[in-house]
């Protein structure tokens, strides 16, 4: 029984040890994100609202954003740079028509007006995040 309780103590002690280090590093990363890697000044209400539109339509289950999500459609973390600005992004989302050719299609979400603008605003804000130079190239 001796070795068993020793094993248990090592388990609990070690877990707490690593978790505390982890929480400390995440706390530091939190401040790094809000001071260094993302621009909280340009994170306007429009951007926050755009993120909501992004989520309500579950864009993440076709696209990746900063490399996370689904692998069916292009990476959108850098789409604003790839397409050359907010208007082009809005144009791409609006232009979606079903059943053109034999390739994958993006549904037409009928996102209009301020919703569309804020959605593009969110994607363009995202492309300003400092991501240790990922992705390797514009293709994403």
């Amino acid at each position: 029984m001796q070795t068993k309780s020793a094993a248990r103590n090592i388990f609990f002690g070690g877990t707490i040890f690593f978790f505390v280090i982890f929480v400390g590093l995440v706390a530091h990363s939190y401040s790094y994100i809000v001071t260094t890697s993302t621009n909280v000044k340009t994170l306007t209400e429009a951007v926050a609202h755009g993120k909501k539109i992004w989520e309500e339509n579950a864009c993440i289950d076709c696209h990746t954003i900063l490399g996370e999500g689904a692998y069916y459609a292009p990476e959108l973390g850098n789409v604003c740079k790839r397409l050359g600005g907010k208007d082009a992004v809005m144009g791409m989302i609006e232009a979606r028509q079903e059943n053109e050719e034999d390739t994958r299609q993006m549904p037409n979400f009928n996102i209009k007006g301020k919703d569309l603008e804020d959605l593009a605003e969110f994607l363009c804000w995202t492309s300003t995040i400092k991501t240790q130079n990922w992705p390797p190239n514009e293709a994403g």
């Binding site: 989520e55 076709c62 490399g67 692998y71 299609q105 390797p136």
Partner: protein, 452 residues
């Protein structure tokens, strides 16, 4: 079955297996959409079906864990479950929530409603009311099993199992935190996803595996209990800081490239330890348990988890490699074999073990069940290989050469066809498995003799 309340597990397993069938059918459907993008495009687009595929996966795995826990705890604590009524109510809430999710996704009900509409972060798209329901169900569950253990015998298996389950519930609470800042959102999103599958779920896996080894090999409890704390320790010591392998490119500091690379490489160790554990127990064990199929699934689980999580995880976990493979079909290949090997197989192992006891019969249909193991695992391995090749080509064309995403995808058709073919084979194996566990026979057709 020594305790009446172990019977609760049966209801959980039925729900889990129904969702398993749904998950695979939808998986084969989205695999087909990859080949024929217009299929269902107007009715239910790819993203909706993908949500159903991944969410049903996670819900059925958890339902299976709950069922297994209700089966294991009475035998470990040597007591009936505190309240079977609570257990059934908990299942009812989960079923209601699942039905709500399916209807909400398929018909896009309450679009944009903060409480009733879907939420759209990967894997946790469930409407808020469902997430709150899950939290309530989890609390009922934890109360129920914790009370049972507190009033009964305390074993290492039960301790590690409960710790894992508490961890699952605690980290799930992060679904309620969704900051506007995408980088912060992502950083804490991984507290659910990574700290689940490479943290607390591993404890549940180790505990269920240990219970099966105790029962199937008849090895001394002393020995098993030493192993289980060792495996649990290795899992968390490496897995917690291993979260760093998701903090490379999302706006988090550069030092994660070192921490993530080192600790996530070490994450292979607990999976290797599980292989050693399982085979050592079989080798040391005296008992020749009649349920050979359960043993096959349990050993298969340890090995395939090692390959899917360990080898395929290591394949893309070093930061300089992940820089190129991040978010490609390489990720997909790993996701499939890891989830399958570790968490699908442990559930199917446990159900294969428990079902004959729950239904009060001998383990029949064993040969067919073992066939389903080989066919299903072969199919999943094939899917993994196809996607690994697809991923290698994608990485080269897109990440190294810089060709546009859609252009590259158009060249991967062959791999997606192979994936789909293997997917159909998996589906057939799943149906075979369900037949062997649910449909009773009056006698074993082929007993100890090998098939002719």
């Amino acid at each position: 079955m020594k305790y009446q309340s172990q019977k609760i597990a049966l209801a959980y397993f039925i729900v889990a297996m129904a969702l398993f069938a749904v998950q695979i059918i939808v998986g084969v459907t989205i695999g087909y959409i990859y080949l024929n993008p217009h299929f269902l495009a107007d009715l239910t687009p790819f993203n909706v079906l993908r949500m159903l595929h991944t969410n049903s996966l996670i819900v059925w795995l958890l339902t299976g864990f709950f069922g297994a826990t209700y089966y294991i705890i009475p035998e470990e604590a040597e007591r009936e479950i505190e309240s079977p009524a609570i257990a059934y109510l908990q299942l009812a809430i989960l079923v209601l929530g699942t039905a709500g999710v399916v209807v909400t996704y398929l018909f896009d009900l309450f679009h944009g409603n903060f409480l009733l509409g879907k939420q759209g972060r990967e894997f946790i798209e469930q409407p808020l009311w469902v997430q709150l329901g899950i939290i309530v169900a989890a609390l009922m569950f934890l109360y129920n099993v914790t009370m049972t253990v507190l009033k009964g015998r305390k074993t290492a298996v039960a301790n590690v199992l409960l710790l894992g389950l508490w961890g699952i519930a605690i980290f799930f609470l992060f679904v309620l935190y969704n900051p506007d800042n995408l980088s912060l959102d992502k950083m804490f999103w991984w507290w659910i996803v990574h700290l689940w599958v490479e943290g607390v779920w591993e404890l549940v896996l180790a505990a269920i595996l240990a219970f099966l080894m105790l029962k199937l090999t008849g090895v001394d409890r002393e020995i098993v209990e030493k192993w289980i704390y060792g495996i649990a320790a290795l899992s968390l010591f490496t897995g917690i800081l291993g979260t760093g392998h998701h903090y490379y490119w999302i706006g988090t500091p550069g030092y994660w490239q070192w921490i993530g690379s080192i600790f996530s490489t070490l994450e292979v160790v607990p999976f290797f330890a599980m292989v050693l554990f399982a085979f050592t127990m079989v080798w040391k064990g005296q008992r020749n348990h009649p349920n050979k199929a359960a043993m096959l699934w349990a050993l298969g689980c340890a090995v395939l988890a090692f390959f899917g999580a360990g080898i395929w995880g290591f394949l893309h976990t070093l930061a300089p490699v992940n820089y190129y493979t991040h978010g490609t079909q390489i990720t997909m290949s790993h996701g499939h074999l890891a989830f399958y090997g570790a968490y699908v197989c442990i559930n199917l192992a446990f159900i294969t073990y428990a079902m004959p006891k729950l239904l009060g019969r001998e383990p029949y249909n064993q040969v067919l069940n073992m066939v389903s193991f080989w066919v299903m695992s072969g199919g999943m391995a094939f899917i993994t290989f196809a996607l690994t090749f697809a991923g290698a080509v994608q990485v080269h064309l897109q990440r190294v050469q810089g060709n546009a995403f859609m252009e590259v995808q158009n060249q991967l058709g062959l791999f997606y066809m192979l994936r789909e073919g293997a997917g159909v084979v998996v589906l057939i194996a799943v149906l075979l498995y369900l037949y062997t566990v649910f449909v009773p026979r009056t006698e074993e057709v082929i007993s100890t003799q090998p098939a002719e």
